[in-house]
Amino acid sequence: MNETILIGLAGVIAAATPVVFASIGETITERAGVINLSANGTILLTAMAGFAVAVNTGSLLLGFLTGALIGALVAAIVAFSSITLKQSQVAVGFVLALMCRDLAYFLGDPYNSVSGPFLTPTPIPLLKDIPVLGTLLFKQDILVYLSYLLIIGAALYMFKTRPGLILRGIGERPAAAFVRGANVNRLRYLYTILGGAMVGLAGPMYSLSYKAGWKGTISGLDGIGWIALAITIFGGWSPIKAAFGSYFFVFLQWLGLVLQSSLTNIPSQVLQVAPFPLMILALLLVNIGNAEWVERALAAMPDRLRHLISGLLRSLRSSPPASLGVPFENE
């Protein structure tokens, strides 16, 4: 493959890494049956706070820890209000999405355009020399390598381990998990906070690495959180598909600018927003089989055609955790 394209694709992987963290974090949270809608605000707040801490302490590690901590804290608010107080998760998450954003802009003002430390790539010896893959995967920074571990680890955990089975269980049917000995609400707290910490990490991943620095409202991060949420859904609550969705999203953006000079009669906005219609289309495909009118229309079709289409629709269907957003009460 052309080296330039390879390096470009490697850049896509790097650019997508924060989104990978955020969408897998959200995937874990939602698998446990909780929607944390606050991602957009969380990422901005942690980008700012992580940057501020790193600037003041000179420590990147502290910056990242701050991000994870604040992400966990915001998630804990969502968990507390939805699990303990039984308030609407969507409402609380949405409020936090807006409030944390403004908080980031307000408190981050003194750090606007201050220069600070950032993470540089660390190619992995040996691995980096593998043809194609070396350039693509192994000349990145340490966070990108972490993201590989995260993708594989999260998928293994979710689908192959005992606690992963319970995680899926509490999202599907908390009462059934409860009678099998799982402390549903405690686990929901745990996974919401854990997922929140991952979303929180995405912030410093921008401000201390991929988009080093903090520039207030022109940091260019407002919207990322919503995109990560969309990708979670697009990925059908699977870590691997969420990662794929993140790469795909950034790839389209990249394609948009690579093709800008050759496709001069296509407005540049088209490829930039393409992920959203695509997300909607994906949601449409996986859900439309459940729509009443489709069922009615199918019923009127001749047998062969009906079986063909309904088989197709069934194979596309991917349903969210059955108890997503539903609080669990055993009394």
Binding site: L37, I77, F80, S81, T84, L85, K86, Q87, S88, V90, A91, V92, F94, V95, L96, L98, M99, C100, R101, D102, L103, Y105, F106, L107, D109, G216, G223, W226, L229, A230, I233, P267, Q269, V270, Q272, V273, F276, P277, M279, I280, L283, L284, N287, I288, N290, A291, W293
Partner: protein, 346 residues
Amino acid sequence: MNKNSKSFELLFRGLAILLAVLFASLVLLLAKANPLEAFRYLIVGAFGTTGKILDVLVSWVPLALATAGLLFTFTAGLWNIGVEGQITLGAVFTTAALRLLMNSGLPPGLIIFLAILAGALGGALWASLVGVLKIYGGVNEIFGGLGLNFVSVAITIWLIFGPWKRPGTGSMSGTEPFPRELHLPVLGNSNLSVWSLVLAVLGIVLVYILLRNTYFGLRLRAVGKNSRAAFLLGVPTNRYAMLAFFLCGIFAGLAGAVQVTAVYYRLIPSISSGYGFLGLLVAMLVNFNAIWAALVAFFFAALNIGSIQLPLMMRLDSTLSGVIQGSLVLFVLLMDGVRRRITGKR
């Protein structure tokens, strides 16, 4: 005090407001600012002069319209997060109509009227798209709406920098401003257009009446609380959910139309001004009551206007208003949960 009484509920509301104020103070202290001074400037900045109060009303009109619309979708149990895009498309349609008709020779009043109608239509169509996706395609309205918000911004920017760009330039300042006769007339020396105020007040009253004691309002509530059961009881639930989106879209579109005909007099990149999201916050606070919605929206608009004084007088960022608005809603939600826990009501 009786744990189930109204005053108990009020107590918790008061507590929530107190907590929000404390939280905002804490944030201000973190920014090394004097909270009392900041609050004073917020208040003076919003109500200090008649001009300021009129400015608050300028901001109130689109916010109240968006909130009023959202009461329909909230009542129907729908999270119309796409309202931002609906405001934007309202503005786009209004601009399109004005551009189309400005040289038609029609009387300006009629042109404005038609353009506002077009705005309502634009918002309604965009909302219907979310509705169709939700109702006939199973796409959750939160994600459909979110996606369409992004698309609406892209459409706006494309129009501003592409087909509708000003001669020569193409800038964030938006499209070519419309001539003065196509502005909604303002009150005296202020920025407030009485017509848009009338529109908002009428809208609030209409929503109040519709949701209060009508068959329509009851059916909408039934759909919102239990759509399956409402269907079996004979309510055409899909039609009502679509109607909720459509009506919300009309109001959001009107908000967009007001932004074009009474505030910016053109299409700008961030034409929705965040009123949709802010409207969602307001709607969350007011429990389906349109009159309360109007009052809370006024308070939120006042925070927006008052916060302009912060950078001016204290070198603080104006986003404090958003922090206050958000924390208010957050603490009201939290305290509501605490109260229910205490009273044992689920």
